[in-house]
């Protein structure tokens, strides 16, 4: 197992390096530079030129890249001209919100997927299975943003059961029980809206796995030995059917990245995705660059995680 971990991490290093070069060049291609936001029309152009030299903006791109990547590794991602604060500080706040949103979504995804998948797979071709399959069919085709809008409309505005924006009640003090409760309350609708759509692939996968597994020889053997139906399903079938679900976990994480951008924008939830969209509209490019880099690293880590989980649950991969 350690060999796999080591090999997998060695693959990751050039990936991150390439990603950072790509992001850097993308940032260079964007109009304006770190100074254009700070510049006041009254400043004399000579001073600007001096400042440019001071910041190293006249150096060749690879030297600039080196400066950028070394300071990024030390946690310095530049200044946001819009908020007049270091990008690292700004992103840190938002990252926590997006983390909670993603975690809640994952919890809901599996809370929905596992029971539905089991019912649908165990009792396939019954009415319940047909209804669940119908739901996965529609959920697969429905775009997330439309579904989330409808959820916001129905449960946020029409019934008024949930807050329609923000991540916490304004004015509550951090650390109190009321604060935590309010945070959870604000998470509920966005996370549920995303989970109801993202869960359908997992439901479909679990259903197919269970149907495949339940006709295998070892199940016939278990039944012949006289094991009860519930024991067969809970112990023998489920254990084998959950393997691919576990392996899919890392991809699920990567999928969340795109989803949170839509969800945060619709529910005005102050996370990384919302910061990304507003920064790009206001041309706050140092924030944009930092976020693209972070999202890229997150998706690399997601694929690392899915490979590692696959190695843990499936011994055949370890041996190779």
């Amino acid at each position: 197992m350690w060999k796999i971990v080591a090999r997998r991490i060695t693959i990751m290093i050039p990936q991150i390096l390439l990603l950072s070069i790509f992001v850097f060049l993308l940032a260079k291609a964007m109009p304006g530079d770190a100074l254009s936001g700070l510049i006041d029309p009254n400043i004399d152009p000579k001073a600007i030129a001096e400042k440019r030299i001071q910041l190293g903006l006249n150096k060749p791109w690879y030297e600039q890249y080196w400066d950028w990547i070394t300071s990024a590794l030390q946690g310095d991602l530049g200044q946001s001209f819009r908020f007049k604060m270091p990008v690292t500080e700004l992103v840190g706040e938002r990252m926590a919100n997006t983390f909670w949103l993603s975690l809640a979504t994952l919890v809901f995804t599996y809370l929905i997927a596992i029971p539905l998948g089991i019912i649908s797979g165990r009792y396939n071709d019954t009415l319940a299975d047909r209804m669940i399959t119908g739901y996965t069919y529609i959920g697969f085709a429905a775009p997330l943003f439309i579904f989330a809008l409808v959820m916001l409309w129905v449960f946020g505005f029409h019934f008024g059961w949930f807050p329609t924006g923000g991540s916490v009640e304004p004015g509550s003090t951090p650390g109190t029980a009321a604060y935590i409760a309010s945070k959870l309350y604000h998470l509920l609708l966005p996370a549920l809206s995303m989970a109801l759509i993202t869960t359908v692939t997992t439901v479909q996968m679990l259903r197919n796995e269970i149907i495949d597994t339940k006709f295998k020889d070892f199940i016939v053997t278990a039944r012949a030995k006289g094991a009860s139906e519930s024991r067969i399903y809970n112990r023998h079938v489920l254990r084998n059917s959950l393997l691919p679900i576990a392996a899919f976990f890392g991809y699920e994480l990567t999928g969340l990245i795109g989803g949170t951008v839509f969800i945060e924008s619709i529910f005005s939830y102050p996370g990384m995705g919302q910061l990304f969209l507003s920064s790009i509209s206001l041309r706050d490019f140092s924030v944009v660059t930092a976020l693209v880099l972070l999202y890229g690293v997150a998706s690399i880590l997601g694929s690392l995680l899915s490979d590692l989980i696959l190695g843990i649950v499936d011994p055949r991969i370890r041996i190779k």
Binding site: Y137, F145, V261
Partner: protein, 289 residues
Amino acid sequence: MGDKNLSGWRIVLKEIVRDKMALLSLILIVAITAFVYLTSLLLDQSQIVRVNLFELNKPPSSEFWLGTDQGGRDVFGQLIIGTRNSLTIAILVTSLSGLIGIAIGLISGYFGGMVDNFFMRIVDFFMILPTLMIVIAFVTTVPKYGIMSFTLIMTAFLWMGKARLIRSKALQERELDYVKASRTSGSSHLKIMLVQVLPNLSSIIIVSMTLNLAANIGLESGLSFLGFGFPESTPSLGTLVSYARNPQVLESRWWIWVPASVLILVLMLSINNVGQALRRAADARQRLG
């Protein structure tokens, strides 16, 4: 019994006719597409996107079938033109990214070895990029952008899945005897790839392109919804839905965003349905009978 001798298209047709949902979906898609492209010939885009201050936020009436938006623009006209634009871009992106994916997949699968390794490392790299953010960043970076540059940006980040799929199938094909036989009898690599291997992959290509078409309609409308698709002067289905980001529109002016949302859903569901029927037709084990 005679099933085995049916030609490919007859099987497809039979499968679709058997599956009532797929048949209905196909009819819907053809009807919507024909209606939208024909009606949009009669509509003047610049006329529809012109702001009209006397007709703000009117509910549906006999004059404006689906009312007007906050700029006094006719929603029905925007819906027709928006559907046309969304469909056009989805078709362009699907075919272009399909073409690139097929070419790269075929080359790396057919030759294997070093060539395969080279292309697959590029694919691996593109796969880890946070596509949505990078597309958005590109859209804001490109100075003058219209349908063509939008298509190119989307295509640049959407060809990898197809390349992987085709490569894995081409790797299997190249081991088969017919390829070796053809090579021994002196056919060029190009001829084997295009005339002999490609037709054997056609069913997979058609199925995956159909499913991609649905996904691309969703992606384009999603980007327009976030405000990074077409400019406002070129409405798309996503643009109409994006007006619902204003709570007032979401709550009390359903005629602006609901029709476009339903249309996106209907289009994506129908195209998916047809895609699933095609998949069953391509895979004998899954055919309905």
